[in-house]
Symmetry: C2
Subunit: 358 residues, 2 copies
Amino acid sequence: MSSKILVLAGDGIGPEIMAEATKVLSFVDNKFGLDLHVDEALVGGAAIDAEGSALPERTFELAKAADAILLGAVGGPKWDNLPPAERPEKGGLLKIRAELDLFGNLRPAILYPQLADASSLKPEVVSGLDILIVRELTGGIYFGGPRGIRTLDSGEREGFNTYVYSESEIVRIGRQAFEAARKRGGRLCSVDKANVLEVTMLWREVMEELSKDYPDVELSHMYVDNAAMQLVRAPKQFDVIVTGNMFGDILSDAAAMLTGSIGMLPSASLDINGRGMYEPCHGSAPDIAGQGKANPLATILSVAMMLRYSLAQIEAADFIERAVEKVLDKGYRTGDIFSEGCKLVSTSEMGDAVLAAL
Amino acid sequence: MSSKILVLAGDGIGPEIMAEATKVLSFVDNKFGLDLHVDEALVGGAAIDAEGSALPERTFELAKAADAILLGAVGGPKWDNLPPAERPEKGGLLKIRAELDLFGNLRPAILYPQLADASSLKPEVVSGLDILIVRELTGGIYFGGPRGIRTLDSGEREGFNTYVYSESEIVRIGRQAFEAARKRGGRLCSVDKANVLEVTMLWREVMEELSKDYPDVELSHMYVDNAAMQLVRAPKQFDVIVTGNMFGDILSDAAAMLTGSIGMLPSASLDINGRGMYEPCHGSAPDIAGQGKANPLATILSVAMMLRYSLAQIEAADFIERAVEKVLDKGYRTGDIFSEGCKLVSTSEMGDAVLAAL
Ligand SMILES: CC(C)[C@H](C(=O)O)[C@@H](O)C(=O)O
Ligand SMILES: CC(C)[C@H](C(=O)O)[C@@H](O)C(=O)O
């Protein structure tokens, strides 16, 4: 059974890292007989430049038809002066997420033992770190209305956004998080600000309700300010964290940075049927674009995540993940994860090293 | 000229730490002839138990009449099942902030060299850390309306809150932050999510405008997710950070935790005239209440901050801060900041040690 994959390289370092990821993808396609049909299309700034829109019609149609999407990264200073709704982020990335209903964002924060030194935290605080943040991705204050900037009667302006969640939105992300916790350490921490925000009081109530369906998962609740502290103080206390779009944006980046190697972390954004978009946690890094310095491993690991979650090709996914570990064991490092005594390699050398390990 | 101080010990460890802080306060009152008039009143859970309201009328009247307020901490599991608006946090703390217009929350995150080991971060990442977070405290999503939980036509419920800032609200907190940066390292980083939220686009625009009045301060902007990462990766890059109520809640707690000694950090909440409320950054810690384990230094340093900001008694403030450093130099430590080779002391022993050093 053939699967359709859409590759969206995007902006900045996107094309470089994607070139390595697609090498890996086509290798496993052949090796495991996956019968992948791979299309490529423009998104973000590259699409604005070529076709005047961050999400051109062709890209959107291909995205809707795909079984899974592999995304590099979007955005850059070149497009920062456009109206927000037309920029690569809002006009491209957020639009795909919303239109394809990719509400479940899985962001693992894993410390690779080979890279323990790269963390800014003490080794004993982060060694063995393996947490998963489940972030709601198509609701909350990112998409809530009314929103905008209006002029008050007094003549001054006022900006406003709406943070909103319905029960069904909370239920579907909650289920995804409970299921994920069940497959891991069996502990789920729901993060909210229920002592202040009504929307998160409902969030907490719904999570409590849901927990009755998952007696094997231990549910706890934490305020978002405390969660930010606890991630810094003792991150290993967590197994799975579930939270809304905005808090998830903040906490997942903090959690990724705890590992010191955000260039290593993939992410998945899934719809209710497990169809998804896969992308590295890092951004488009325009400052190093085109220099062969970028770390392609997060994108390569996103390929593995895609095979695991959307295509159910567990063996092929394991295979890629083991190859990445081998490459780290051998001491290959791009600049972002480099330390004394390792071999500094370029983006394509890193991709080749993974291929060799495969 | 006499000054009126209102002491609100609050809940949990509040009374214990406040007992030590008031010892220090009356010592410097005598020594520097400050002519302080000190009142005490109930707030939070203690006030609910005694008078049925987290902010009784008498407390509120005294608070309005005071030149400065010293607060311990409020809240605890005992009152967590009350309706949110009646709880110690919302009914007491947030109400005082709002009613007294204490919009400017200053939260220093300082690493005391004597306590460098207590941080979960590597010494080279945090040694010498000294940043100030300026958090807007009476607006944003904490106080915005409409808010609540409603039932939709479909029968399901929906929770909603409103994130709103007017230009004048942004201007007044912006000015406070620019002034603070001017007195420190001259660098101000404004944190927003202007790539997604309209309210923070206005925030960014107003900060840019304001910066014309402060040519000696270098203004930069950062998205909140990146700020959370940068605080973990390289916190010393910051001098002063300014941000809204919700982001400030999250980032200031993360920043405080970087130091590893949140029991050491005071905070100030000021109105437009510099009248203010001073409190430790830590909470009411009900788990250790009444055991003499709590660290009173954050509250003692809040007294110093009060003398500096609201009473313009710089000398007395310096005096207290030097005494605290002496006590740390001598190796006195409460449990939260204890490390091998130091002297473990109780709450009151720590207070006495500060008095002796004065
Ligand atoms: C680029 C931006 C709109 C996006 C977000 O805030 O969701 C990014 O930070 C992310 O986390 O994927
Ligand atoms: C107790 C709570 C309402 C409060 C807040 O969120 O402002 C606290 O976290 C703080 O930062 O002072």
